[in-house]
């Protein structure tokens, strides 16, 4: 089973990297970009019988730091 786990910074957490990317886009002449937030994408190949609870635990225990990050799991 293929999973895509998307980790994003929580709203309100300052994102220095996103801000630098935003500035660089402006420098390339792209107008109208209101905001940029950087995140992470993990592609996992797990056994088909892996439980939702186990996947959630993987996210909470390692893939995301829930102090500053949210995550969502996409299947297929």
């Amino acid at each position: 089973m293929k999973l895509r786990i998307v980790v994003t910074l929580k709203p309100g957490v300052l994102d220095p990297q996103g801000r630098a990317i935003h500035k660089a886009l402006g420098g390339l002449g792209f107008g109208g970009v209101n905001d940029v937030r950087a995140g992470k994408l993990f592609e996992l190949d797990v056994a088909d019988d892996t439980s939702d609870a186990a996947i959630d635990e993987m996210c909470r225990k390692l893939l995301a730091n829930t102090v500053i990050e949210n995550y969502r799991v996409e299947r297929g």
């Binding site: 220095p16 990297q17 390692l62 500053i68």
Partner: protein
């Protein structure tokens, strides 16, 4: 005093920490590899050193925080053994959850490597008893991810409980409320981005860091 320095793949301040501990306590610390599951009997201080454990993969300190030795460190911390995390060690302590908040990329995105001025916010702790409250000290920093972040309620709580040990005298990395070092609720775990172990003798340009180790020796006992 029996001390232990935890060594992760990619630690690079473990030997500096060992030199500082030996200089102050008179005894060589045990160098404990991350794959061990037990600390030496009678360990009275645990130090998590600076460096780039696991190449800072995933998040700084994230993989080291899931090492085999961590449950033994958590158990010792809960039993009251002082735990000092410096730089990457601070990042590891937040990733374990022994300290609140997280350390993000520096606000200016620069790696900052220089001496900085700190003010001592809490001079009553196990770690800071040799300083005066409000005293200004000079200690070096060397980090890319030292931008301390926590939600406003957490920041209010740790400030209200006197758990900010050190603050930057001026902004260094964008840290919330210029926090440079944080204590846990019981006061026996300290994480700080500046490196006291790199400021223990005149040849280092000063010895403001040495008093942290001397204070520990005094409060923990020989």
């Amino acid at each position: 005093m029996r001390t232990a320095v935890i060594v992760f793949p990619g630690s690079n301040c473990d030997r500096d920490m060992a030199v500082a501990l030996e200089a102050v306590t008179g005894a060589k610390p045990a160098m404990v590899w991350h794959g061990e599951t037990m600390l030496p009997d009678g360990t009275a201080l645990i130090a998590l050193p600076g460096g780039f454990s696991y190449g800072d993969y995933l998040r700084c300190g994230a993989i080291a925080a899931r090492s085999a030795i961590i449950p033994a460190i958590v158990a010792a911390a809960e039993a009251g053994v002082p735990v000092l995390g410096v730089c990457n060690g601070f990042q590891v302590l937040t990733e374990i959850g022994l300290l609140p908040g997280a350390l993000m990329r520096n606000e200016g995105l620069d790696f900052v490597c220089r001496d900085v001025a700190l003010t001592v916010d809490n001079a009553q702790s196990t770690f800071t008893s040799r300083y005066a409250a409000g005293e200004r000290i000079i200690v070096p920093v060397a980090h890319h991810d030292g931008n301390y972040t926590a939600d406003a309620d957490t920041l209010d709580r740790i400030e209200g409980e006197g758990r900010v040990a050190f603050r930057y005298a001026e902004s260094v990395n964008g840290s919330a409320r210029q926090i440079a070092g944080v204590l846990n609720a019981s006061g026996n775990v300290l994480g700080m981005m500046p490196h006291p172990e790199r400021r223990i003798e005149a040849a280092h340009g000063g010895d403001d860091g040495r008093r942290l180790f001397e204070g520990l020796l005094e409060t923990v006992g020989a």
